[in-house]
């Protein structure tokens, strides 16, 4: 702009035609694209210098995003097979955020933005953001503790705070469960750190504990034979570990028995249905019965009379 004005000054005092041409040229030089004043705010923004800066910033952002994408892709492939899904996802996320931060710093430098002033402002903003993002940060850090715990992985069945479902995603801030009635439940990592988490499918086999009450007077040897035989004859029950038969005590209504049968974790639903049916059938076949709730009423004459809400000692 200064150069142009100097040239115009030197042209003063020439012939009228030349003067007219010079005036027209001066008018053109004082505007950008013919209508934006060169010395105005917009004129300063749309200078060649600014265009170069914008180009540099755009180049850094595009190249940076491509590089970060490439690095994340390689990291994802490298960690997918070597680590569990949760660790892999967290590492990838961490690399992604670091990459974005580097791109941002470089872009600011290319734009010749004074980062010290920005960082000073960021310090103040950081305090405000810290309060605002307290929960998110807590969840993020909890994610690392969960990762080191290795309590579960994608595909496991979790039971948390009364909710049971399959882990579909393990993210930086939360874990997503798909419940068996087909709902998506998002559980913040912080909650998982605090709560009692049961990993239902962690081990290859689970024991199904069937709590039964047999009528008083039951031949316990016959009951044991029938119940253990029912488990061993069921195609879903594992032959080893062997089934557990335990007399838990003499209850209000009958003899309390625990029958434990081992099932493969994958067969849990079918196995549970099948085993309860097998147990009922085996008891029926052996002529044994499950006890109903009973109550004993004493009459005034002192002679005990046993009555029941359901037939006492009923046999199925």
């Amino acid at each position: 702009m200064v150069g142009t004005e100097g040239t115009l000054g030197a042209a003063a005092g020439q012939e009228p035609a030349l003067e007219a041409a010079a005036e027209t040229a001066a008018e053109g030089a004082d505007t950008i694209l013919g209508f934006i004043p060169a010395d105005g705010v917009l004129g300063r923004i749309f200078s060649m210098d600014t265009a170069l800066k914008v180009g540099r910033v755009a180049l850094i952002i595009v190249a940076g995003l491509v590089l970060v994408g490439l690095a994340v892709s390689i990291l994802r492939r490298m960690t997918r097979r070597r680590m569990d899904a949760r660790t892999s996802a967290l590492l990838v996320k961490l690399a992604q955020y670091l990459g974005f931060a580097l791109i941002a710093i470089n872009a600011f430098e290319a734009a010749e933005v004074d980062l010290s002033a920005l960082l000073g402002a960021a310090g103040i903003a950081g305090i405000a953001l810290g309060f605002a993002a307290q929960t998110s940060v807590s969840n993020f850090i909890s994610g690392f503790f969960l990762m080191s715990d290795k309590t579960f992985a994608q595909g496991d069945v979790l039971s948390v705070n009364g909710l049971t479902g399959v882990v579909t995603a393990v993210d930086a801030l939360s874990v997503k469960l798909r419940t068996f009635d087909n709902q998506l439940v998002r559980i913040p990592n912080e909650t998982l750190i605090k709560a009692d988490v049961a990993n239902v499918t962690r081990y290859p086999a689970r024991r199904l504990d069937m709590k039964l009450t047999l009528t008083y007077g039951t031949d316990m040897d016959a009951a044991r034979t029938a119940l253990v035989g029912a488990v061993l004859g069921d195609v879903y029950a594992l032959r080893k570990p062997e089934p557990l038969f335990l007399v838990r005590g003499l209850g209000d209504n009958g003899i309390d028995v625990l029958l434990g049968a081992w099932l493969a974790a994958d067969d849990w639903v079918e196995g549970t249905n099948s085993l309860y049916s097998s147990v009922v059938a085996a008891l029926s076949e052996a002529g044994l019965g499950l006890a109903y709730p009973t109550i004993t009423v004493l009459q005034d004459d002192g002679a005990p009379q046993k009555t029941a809400r359901q037939p006492s000692g009923a046999r199925r």
Binding site: K150, A153, P204, V235, L238, R239, K240, W262
Partner: protein
């Protein structure tokens, strides 16, 4: 679909047959297990239904013991496959998809450093092959499961029971009597410094062939090495000459190596 009058009759256990059209359910006997196959027209092709009857082969006791008690049409025991062409079907022996945990009927103690050779047997599955591809695999012994190892880190396996027949040569007669059995020549070695009780041997069928020779069905020789860190199974020697290969391993040696290495890596890093 399910024919009312089953056809009985002895026929070889393994081989190829035309589809049983308009003749009821065809019966294939494997020891005391019966595999029944029936076919029905379905559009341009046929639907083949197969079911396995265990124990007495589904036969009802009494006078009519020749009559098979077939499962009802809706019973999940029936496995149905659609085949577009009216070609033959084959029944070929194979291994279960799960590893097989062979429980020895008479466990024994192996002294430190001792080496023993012998034979064990497992029950084959019947692979129903249509158009050169396996359509369905049916267990010829009731498919009970068991856990090999501890409840924390064990492997869910198919349960099977066997005698350990010590010696170099197999007792062929016992095998010929039951076409369901596959014999595995084994070599046991206790490399640990303490006696080992040999009660269960786990066989990974996906790594093994099914070979047929004059003595019946057999696999490659297996080696079990007991050490302080556990027991390891591996193939011990090549396929014997002169045997017909009825089924090849489902995974190659390289795949096995990669798979096992990955399992070891997972075990080291995961928990």
């Amino acid at each position: 679909m399910i024919p009312e009058k089953p056809r009985s009759g002895e026929r070889p256990s393994w081989g190829s047959w035309p589809l049983p059209k308009d003749e009821g359910a065809r019966e294939h006997r494997f020891g005391d297990t019966t595999l029944v196959v029936a076919a029905d027209k379905a559009g341009e092709g046929d639907v083949l239904a197969a079911a396995v009857l265990y124990g007495r082969g589904g036969r009802t006791p009494g006078k009519k013991s020749r009559v098979l008690a077939l499962p009802p049409p809706g019973d999940p025991a029936w496995k149905r496959v659609h085949t577009p062409s009216a070609g033959d079907y084959s029944l070929m022996p194979g291994y279960p998809s799960l590893p097989v945990c062979l429980s020895l009927r008479q466990p024994f103690i192996l002294a430190p450093g001792a080496r023993v050779e012998g034979w064990i047997c497992s029950h084959a599955e019947a692979r129903l092959v249509l158009g050169g591809a396996e359509a369905v695999s049916l267990p010829l012994a009731r498919p009970y499961k068991t856990l090999y190892g501890s409840p924390e880190s064990g492997v869910v396996c198919r349960h099977d029971e066997t005698d350990f027949l010590a010696g170099d040569e197999l007792l062929l007669a016992s095998l010929k009597s039951d076409p369901r059995l596959i014999a595995h020549p084994v070599r046991l070695h206790n490399a640990s410094s303490a006696p080992v009780s040999v009660a269960e041997l786990c066989v990974y069928g996906e790594q093994l062939s099914v070979l047929a020779d004059a003595g019946g069905l057999r696999s490659e020789r297996l080696s079990f090495v007991f050490s302080e860190s556990g027991v390891k199974m591996r193939l011990d020697g090549a396929v014997p000459q002169g045997s017909a290969v009825l089924a090849k391993p489902r995974v190659s040696g390289e795949e096995r190596f990669i798979e096992r290495s990955f399992e070891v890596w997972k075990a080291i890093t995961k928990w």
